[in-house]
């Protein structure tokens, strides 16, 4: 009897240990976004950098730079929050390490703001490289991701590297409220009820006064996204299924801003017409080429025959 029970216990303990090990390994291997735990990594994408000059020095800003900056700012915010909860430095480090493991900081908001800035700059400056101090953004989106992306571009955020001159960033919500304190803590107050009108940024070329408004198209944000977001992020009353549904939608929005062309994402951007291949022109030239080469061959043969 004894010898029969012991192996059973041993097997149970081993299985438990294996399950625990598997779970702990899984929690490290799944890429977790800071704002959407469990979110999958974005698909392969290619986004050109935003190129500006800062006091004569050319600066290239990639979406990865923006993501890293957003990540660092969010870690700092979390650290401050945990400090207020009287956590020790060791505990704080552990929590942050766990929560931000695998996070790139590239979320729907930061990628939206990056794409909007990229589009606005190309519309207002064309092939010219804008001076950082000449750029102004008016954002309607009070989220840390979008705000910190624009702070990074304008150099107005805390800890943005190599800033010599600064652009301007203004936050005016769709209802006309101007938000001057752009700290994460303050932004949280304005993130409760958001809709499509918050996916809007105005880019201004200060030297000329020209401006370009970027508004996300209807359909880019999935149906029910705003309600789900409120349930998951604000009210925290979402069921596990709703959390999963929101995570899927969150990934879809982020991926759209990373991979889709401007005309599919933003209002008023026309799809460039595909240039039709000039087959007739090509055929005419090709015919002339063939006839010319044929004549050349005939001529050289006649010359040879004559020579004989």
């Amino acid at each position: 009897m004894r010898s029969g029970k012991l192996p059973l216990k041993a097997v149970a303990v081993t299985i438990m240990a294996l399950v625990l090990m598997a779970l702990s390994t899984a929690s490290f291997s799944i890429p977790v976004d800071a704002h959407m735990p469990g979110a999958k990594a974005p698909p392969a994408f290619e986004l050109s950098p935003i190129v500006i000059t800062d006091d004569g020095t050319e600066v290239e800003i990639t979406i990865e730079d923006v993501g890293n900056y957003h990540n660092e700012r969010m870690k700092e915010f979390k650290r401050d929050m945990l400090k207020k909860q009287n956590k020790t430095e060791e505990e704080i480090d552990k929590i942050i390490e766990k929560e931000f493991a695998g996070s790139t900081g590239i979320c729907p908001c930061s990628s939206f703001a990056f794409r909007a800035a990229l589009l606005g700059i190309s519309e207002l400056w064309g092939d010219e490289i804008p001076e950082r101090a000449d750029i102004k953004f008016i954002t309607r989106r009070p989220t840390p991701g979008a705000t910190q992306c624009l702070q990074y571009i304008t150099g107005t955020g805390p800890g943005v590297p190599d800033v010599k001159s600064k652009g301007e960033l203004q936050m005016i919500l769709p209802d006309g409220t101007e938000v001057t304190d752009l700290s994460v803590k303050n932004l949280k107050k304005y993130m409760v009820d958001m809709n499509l009108s918050n996916w809007n940024i105005v880019i201004i070329r200060k030297s000329t006064g020209d401006e370009f408004e970027v508004q996300v198209k209807e359909g880019v944000i999935p149906e029910g996204f705003f309600e789900l977001r409120k349930k998951v992020k604000v009210e925290k009353t979402a069921t596990p299924e709703e959390i999963e549904e929101f995570r899927t939608q969150w990934e879809a929005v982020r991926d759209a801003f990373l991979t889709q062309p401007d005309w599919e994402l933003f209002e008023g951007v026309e799809e460039p017409e595909e240039e039709e291949a000039d087959v007739v022109g090509g055929a005419i030239f090709f015919s002339i080429l063939v006839i010319g080469l044929g004549l050349l061959v005939v001529l050289s043969l006649r010359v040879r025959v004559k020579a004989r």
Binding site: D278, V279, G281, G282, F286
Partner: protein, 151 residues
Amino acid sequence: MNEAEEKFGQVYFTILGAVALAFGAAELIASAGGGFTWGILDSSGATDPLFLPWRAIILLSVGFFYLSSVKDFAEVHQLAKAVMASIMIWIVAGMAIWTRIASSIPGEETWFNSLEGFLASYAPPYCPEMFLLPFSLVIVYYIMKEKEGEK
């Protein structure tokens, strides 16, 4: 080469030389300013921007050679200058045509291009040397005349 042929050659290669000079000057300006495409004329240097200033220098030289050859055109040394200018055009235009032939055969993602893609790759715009190419062939007539004269 009779007098009428010499006269025609003088007028013809003066015009061709002037045109080559104008193209050369345009390409020189284009290479300084990043190139341009005007209708079916391509001086953008899109395929090889580093070659654009060289092309300009070659065209200017072609122009000078043609223009310097028109005085005493029937004289063999003068004719040689026009032949040299024509050969310069043939080399550059030949390279441009060869580039088109080579790039027209493979498809973007397939081994072979479609018929439409194949023909479209010969479509305008063309570099100035390709426009000058047929006109430069007139020199062949004078070479043959010179040969006949030798006999």
